[in-house]
């Protein structure tokens, strides 16, 4: 899942020039660049928050497995 998210972010970054691909750079033509900055920033921060949540869930799962395995070894 995290690999898919990373791939999506990379694709979005690579596509940004094409999406913005305008040679007009005056006046309000600057606006898409301004919005792209905000969009990229928020996608990155939410992506990082998602990555940390996933890591937390993986750790919790691993702790459960370890606890179970310790309990089993103590029983035997």
């Amino acid at each position: 899942m995290s690999k898919r998210l990373a791939a999506l972010v990379v694709i979005l970054i690579l596509l940004t020039p094409a999406m913005l691909g305008s040679n007009h750079t005056e006046g309000e033509d600057y606006l898409p660049f301004l919005f792209a900055v905000f969009a990229v920033t928020w996608v990155a921060f939410f992506g990082y928050a998602f990555f940390m949540t996933r890591k937390q869930a993986d750790l919790k799962r691993e702790i459960d497995i370890l606890r179970q395995s310790i309990e089993e070894s103590e029983e035997t």
Partner: protein, 224 residues
């Protein structure tokens, strides 16, 4: 936990305030037009990235000096978040360069040294991932984290030392007095505070997670 929520809440409120200031309050730059508003994201993120790498140095020195795992976790967490902020600094810089300079990227000294900074701390994270178990990886990482910081003042000074297309610093000790209008300075300071609180929140979260990762790793090896 309350402290973290306070940090996250403060960061959210400051971000909203920053957006309001950027779109409704600050004057439009005469030369750069609307694109200058990217400055309020780009520069604070760059400065927070420098701060993050400063924390890496503190954590690395602490680790080498006292062999403290807490300091190592702090250095690792700060490096990861520093790389995130540097990535965003580079991307937002490119998005600013295209309308102003007409190119997405140019090998100007400040851009090149910034990219080198990104490579240095990305390499730091790779070393930590692929280094052998035990404290060897932490030691290699600590040395690299300290040496890599040498690039931070070079990035800041680059525009002064090698004049090129990138504008000189408008904030900090190198800035000329009055290089920014007072409204622009206020918006910039709000942005800096917003990103700094966000950094502090992310650092605390990542630090806790890193400590848990180390604990689980130790448990796994002691059990196996």
């Amino acid at each position: 936990m309350t402290g973290r929520l306070t940090l996250l809440g403060s960061s959210g409120v400051l971000m909203m305030l920053l957006l309001a200031l950027i779109f409704l309050w600050v004057p439009t730059d005469i030369v750069l037009g609307i694109s200058q508003r990217i400055f309020y994201f780009h520069v604070p993120m760059a400065l927070v990235a420098f701060l993050a790498f400063g924390v890496v140095v503190v954590g690395s020195i602490g680790y080498l000096w006292k062999k403290s795992e807490r300091m190592d976790a702090l250095a690792y967490a700060a490096a990861e978040i520093g790389v995130l902020f540097t990535t965003l600094m580079l991307i937002t810089g490119m998005l600013w360069a295209k309308p102003v300079w007409g190119v997405w990227w140019t090998w100007s000294p400040q851009l090149t040294t910034s990219l080198i900074l990104w490579f240095i701390y990305t390499a730091y994270l790779m070393i930590r991932s692929y280094a052998p178990q035990g404290d060897q990886g932490a030691r290699y990482g600590a040395v690299m984290g300290i040496i890599g910081f040498v690039d931070v003042p070079i990035v800041y000074m680059a525009a002064k030392w090698w004049r090129d297309v990138h504008p000189e610093a408008v904030v900090g000790p190198l800035a000329d007095e009055g290089s920014l209008e007072s409204k622009m300075v206020i918006a910039f300071l709000v942005g800096l505070l917003a990103f700094t609180t966000l950094f502090a929140y992310l650092l605390m979260e990542r630090y806790t997670l890193r400590r848990q990762e180390s604990l689980v790793e130790r448990l796994r090896y002691s059990h196996v």
